[in-house]
Symmetry: D2
Amino acid sequence: MEAGKQAINKRTGKKFEEGEAVTAEEMFWCASCRPCADGYPNHCEKLQELGFSCDGAFAEYVKVDSRYIWSLEELKRVYKGDDLFLAGSVVEPTSVAYNAVIERGGGIRPGDNAVILGGGPIGLAAVAIMKKAGASNVILSEPSEPRAKLGKLMGADHIINPLKENFTERVLDITGGLGAKLYLEATGLPDKVWADIEQSIWEGKMINSTVVIVARSDKKIPVTGEVFQVRRASIVGSQGHSGHGTFPRVISSMASGMDMTPLITKKVTLDKVPENIVLLRTDRTECKITCEFK
Amino acid sequence: MEAGKQAINKRTGKKFEEGEAVTAEEMFWCASCRPCADGYPNHCEKLQELGFSCDGAFAEYVKVDSRYIWSLEELKRVYKGDDLFLAGSVVEPTSVAYNAVIERGGGIRPGDNAVILGGGPIGLAAVAIMKKAGASNVILSEPSEPRAKLGKLMGADHIINPLKENFTERVLDITGGLGAKLYLEATGLPDKVWADIEQSIWEGKMINSTVVIVARSDKKIPVTGEVFQVRRASIVGSQGHSGHGTFPRVISSMASGMDMTPLITKKVTLDKVPENIVLLRTDRTECKITCEFK
Amino acid sequence: MEAGKQAINKRTGKKFEEGEAVTAEEMFWCASCRPCADGYPNHCEKLQELGFSCDGAFAEYVKVDSRYIWSLEELKRVYKGDDLFLAGSVVEPTSVAYNAVIERGGGIRPGDNAVILGGGPIGLAAVAIMKKAGASNVILSEPSEPRAKLGKLMGADHIINPLKENFTERVLDITGGLGAKLYLEATGLPDKVWADIEQSIWEGKMINSTVVIVARSDKKIPVTGEVFQVRRASIVGSQGHSGHGTFPRVISSMASGMDMTPLITKKVTLDKVPENIVLLRTDRTECKITCEFK
Amino acid sequence: MEAGKQAINKRTGKKFEEGEAVTAEEMFWCASCRPCADGYPNHCEKLQELGFSCDGAFAEYVKVDSRYIWSLEELKRVYKGDDLFLAGSVVEPTSVAYNAVIERGGGIRPGDNAVILGGGPIGLAAVAIMKKAGASNVILSEPSEPRAKLGKLMGADHIINPLKENFTERVLDITGGLGAKLYLEATGLPDKVWADIEQSIWEGKMINSTVVIVARSDKKIPVTGEVFQVRRASIVGSQGHSGHGTFPRVISSMASGMDMTPLITKKVTLDKVPENIVLLRTDRTECKITCEFK
């Protein structure tokens, strides 16, 4: 990494030291609009996105304002050589999940139960975060066999196959009739899974459950207001990974035992990137594919 | 009021003094089940309700455990004679609204905007509470003329007739393009008003809006997850009036300028109660009818 | 006001319109350090301050990044001509108080009591904010007669002269034995007033009180841990006025009835500024002196 | 256990099943006073305490209202035979620590650092809870060798001997210059350790730190307001173990990997209780002594 003369390292509050290992947010928030000034950069009105609205990181070098840069130095305790940067490459998706379950979902208290619906990269990252946060039971609902296996690897205590099992029965059975404090909708099929979520909240003894919607979908969600009234429950939407101290806490979590690298199921060289982007649209076997530079 | 020997007055922490004016919660929470022990009496698993599961208050005397009794002494500063008990009779519906907008909705900060949908007793009480809480604009959406007038009396800065006006246009016009921090669904027709709420959140510049559902309905609400993701918004359900210091704060609010008595549009004697209960099922002119004992 | 070509108006999310009336934060936060990136600009590690570390506003023109600019257009509803800018000149001190009692102190619920210790500009602004937020009783403790009068004008329900009256007795008497939810230390003499605050918390029935320290002092505060344990109370420190949507909410509050202009007790021309700055060091009669440009 | 006919098991919401293993809160809150009605039983105005104001549990049988009873059934997954009740005997002190760091301290986010000052039963329990909650580094400050060893066993990542090492230097070194999100004062010597806490907050880059006072002491704490202003920090007092869902979450945490039984350093029979109570007043080698019934 080459740092500009005025670039400040948030880790030290000073200039970057030579050889500092870093990662970058992918959202370039403007730091001037109303949401940014109020402390909500994920909702920047002038947002630029690396790889979308400006040139991306599939290149040997990329120029990023130091505002979006976070040090990976802490990870050197656990990851050596290239593994450091592999670990660094999953900080961003992990931060999307962290923003969803911790910042927006309000987290859990140690001993609470959490249910993650959908074993894509965000759902799987959420599994590890909920386990790290002290969940008594982290339950992953995911029909795909390889994703379910990955879920186990990320720390899920229980897997539900919602196509073969009764979701509510399993959730209540595992949690001794309580249900979960936090449900993460990470399937992108909210209309399909919503009845299950509501039934678990309705039949479980737990009040104050929060349902976090993190996956994007244009489907209407058929919400039963009464469930959220009687069970004192809430629904929150989540987007983004910036702000709220999320990136540095994800990095510190990874430096203290939360291993996210199993999310990377494949490593490719730069010239193989295009075909692998196409692949990910349909292939549910791979989870995250990281591009390596030798 | 006649107090039992062991009955403790929460106002003083001691025995009741002679002549203490009081009101009662209508929900008899058990104080022993999991939600009660955790501090959420509105969700008591063994709930008894005055006038529903146990004999009600349409009687000269009613016996209520001191646990549910709150002193009205503070109101003597503002209300004299019978007016004291008229004021006392609206503490309960006001507490339902207070629990919805303050406890469950998280309140507002001074200078925020609030939109109340539906001008029944709960919606109208919420108008007064939001004004007391420092809302810059309290907007009531209500098609009925007499209810709208009552809304003005309770402190609404603006009335929208959703049958004749474009809800979102009016909300954005009044709030300078911001929209509201808090929306209260108090119509009981969530399926009908939801699109309006979402459009205001979507088009307004305000992020972090909360929609509180307080009216009961068995209709499914067609929620667009993306609106709540992009605008960082939330939905919470609300029920009940107990716990969280709500009753005493409502009473203190009423003792310091929040006049809820306009909610009482009619006073009847005990023998007229049955016909007036029937009347309220259809009559949208009356708001709250209070039974007086001479 | 003349706006740069890229300057964005947070009110509209677009370029500034001609003639837009504005005010500015006085703290130039960097938007890049760890506290800024996390959403806490009041704690910026690279802070520049207008009039301190960079040239100030005692000049006909001053150049400020649009990041720190907030529109006063909303105030045109209430203030005309020069009064608009007089009102604008008190947005900053009001925001310091708002940050203290609302953002850091967590605000109050309608019907709660608040005690403000010290009737300087910040304490007096806090009086108005607590009243706007629905306090049942706002109590100002202030020995100076002119400041006490000003307190009444800003909305204080009760004044305590701590040199002549027993603070705790008065607080408990006014609040019916409860005490306050929020105490603001705005005297700069925390060692002198602390025993009074603790005694009120200890003897009052209210639990969950918060003491906010906003005035600067290098005196040690003799805290009795047990008071904060037994009464479930908290102490928070507060500094700054930036972030958290504070400026725009103060402006909206002022546009809807919270009149802060009585804080301005004197208006001077630019050439009289130096002598008046000297004057304010000792004169407890004047509160805020605003410099006018004709 | 023998259950009364009307006793409700909070685990099921129904009558107790035969052979249900349970533990009890030690605080008998009245469920009727203002703090209890508001949801804060730890601050009950009519509190009775088992073993203090009413006959205690050093007996073969003790009668306790079902309101204060929590099921240990979940622990059968991990503890067998007598070990189940040994585990049950540490639920209460663990709940005191949990109430302090989670309920009053607001918990931490995964990846945050925590410093526990004092390795008595509460401090040691807090070590385990902070580790369970995902702390990146849990640091225990404790001069006694056997207590420090026990701290390691409970999950402390680092031990500071404050009599031999520079507290602040060690904290900053371990946390990469950040300092901690949460400091727990569990020594009972707040006047002695306070300067260290403040220096760590002042010199660390972390803002928003919370200091929780859980140990009782009648010493004045010399608080520097400026530290809490500049670092956006807070102080909260904590007492008790009841309410807020604490007991059941402690039990669920213990059922999912948080082993608190190392806290029990000695088991005695009923007749040895008196001499061991005397012993604990001076002996810093033993931590928790549990009385066993054969």
